[in-house]
Symmetry: C2
Subunit: 212 residues, 2 copies
């Protein structure tokens, strides 16, 4: 069975991982500051880094390594809710979504898949976490599955004890509002070994590995 991995899960000191007020113009709502440390270019490996290979970037670059499929919540794909409007929306990322694998989008409104030339495809499924992971594992063809967020999707998988590895990045800011990462998952730390390391940028990286 493929492992289920979470990468680059940013969280503020007060526990928020996403903003309120997501709109078409503002995909991360009020929480932009959470991602100000993040260099999206490094997600496929250190060789894509033009600038110094810092500890932060070395760890961010685990994101794409050996991943064969992603599972994401509907809000990561777009700001719509309810039945899908006929608006031509194909995600936030234009013609080159960074995933380059099948992606399974959890929604109560399944629809036809979307396929992109760069290897990305979006599959809209109405499934609980275990069933979604089963389908994504099958699609991953021996590679791992990334649980891509947002926070409420992460929590669903944590509560179902389906997460094997999680890279949490504690960002030294307070947000005061938004979508909380740690709601309703009290005590999950008991199921993991957790290694924490701080970088010179002020970030703290936590590597959560499920206990064997």
């Amino acid at each position: 069975m493929a492992r289920a991995r979470i990468h680059n899960q940013f969280v503020s000191l007060d526990g928020f991982s996403a903003g309120d007020h997501v709109t078409f113009d503002r995909p991360i709502g009020d929480a932009g500051a959470l991602f100000s440390w993040f260099d999206g270019r490094v997600i496929e490996g250190v060789h894509r880094v033009a600038d110094p290979v810092t500890l932060d970037r070395a760890l961010f670059s685990m994101w794409g390594q050996g991943i064969g499929a992603e599972i994401m919540g509907r809000r990561k794909f777009g700001p719509q809710s309810g039945p899908w409007p006929d608006d031509g929306w194909r995600g936030w990322w234009g013609d080159e979504p960074p995933f380059k694998t099948p992606c399974f989008i959890l929604t109560h409104h399944p629809r036809e898949p979307m396929v992109f030339a760069n290897g990305t495809s979006f599959h809209f499924i109405d499934a609980d976490p275990a069933e979604a992971l089963r389908r994504a594992s099958e699609a991953a063809d021996g590679r791992d599955v990334r649980i891509g967020g947002g926070p409420s999707t992460i929590r669903q998988f944590l509560r179902a004890d389906l997460v094997d590895f999680m890279h949490v990045v504690v960002v030294p800011i307070t947000l005061g509002r938004g979508v909380h990462l740690w709601d309703d998952v009290v005590g999950i730390e008991d199921r993991f070994t957790i290694e924490s390391v701080s970088s010179s940028s002020g970030l703290t990286h936590q590597l959560w590995n499920r206990k064997q």
Copy 2:
């Protein structure tokens, strides 16, 4: 131009990076303890790790990312010296060398290349560091070049100011003898920014990036 990168350069507290007394049976001589923290399986990415993804392993796994060629000293290839004996030696690694790219072996005794089915090839060249890097960069075809050691080869490239990135791993042991990493490179730290981080295993990882 490809970047020249050094990875997983282990060094003892007293500055030794390899052992004396290298023989056919003992490729790292007396310095085996230096590598006792190292899990060679992770060198192609975190997805190859069967066990917990620790900070150590996450950083070790940078080794293979985006590398298109390696340069190594002759002692890394084998224990022989002088003209090559007709002994059928094809390196320490059997039929599956882990490199999977062209490798340029610095020697005063050039010979015909060796080619393996898994993408590895060994090219024996008599060249100074700049010329070796030029040839390896060409072979790397847009990817980076790894300077693979041993310590005296690393020092040659450091002295010639040809190293863009170096991951040094300080191992909390003393060896008392062996091949020193830091001989004749006094003051090189001025040319780099250096980020140090210690892991829960006792290792200290240093990321050396050449100043822009």
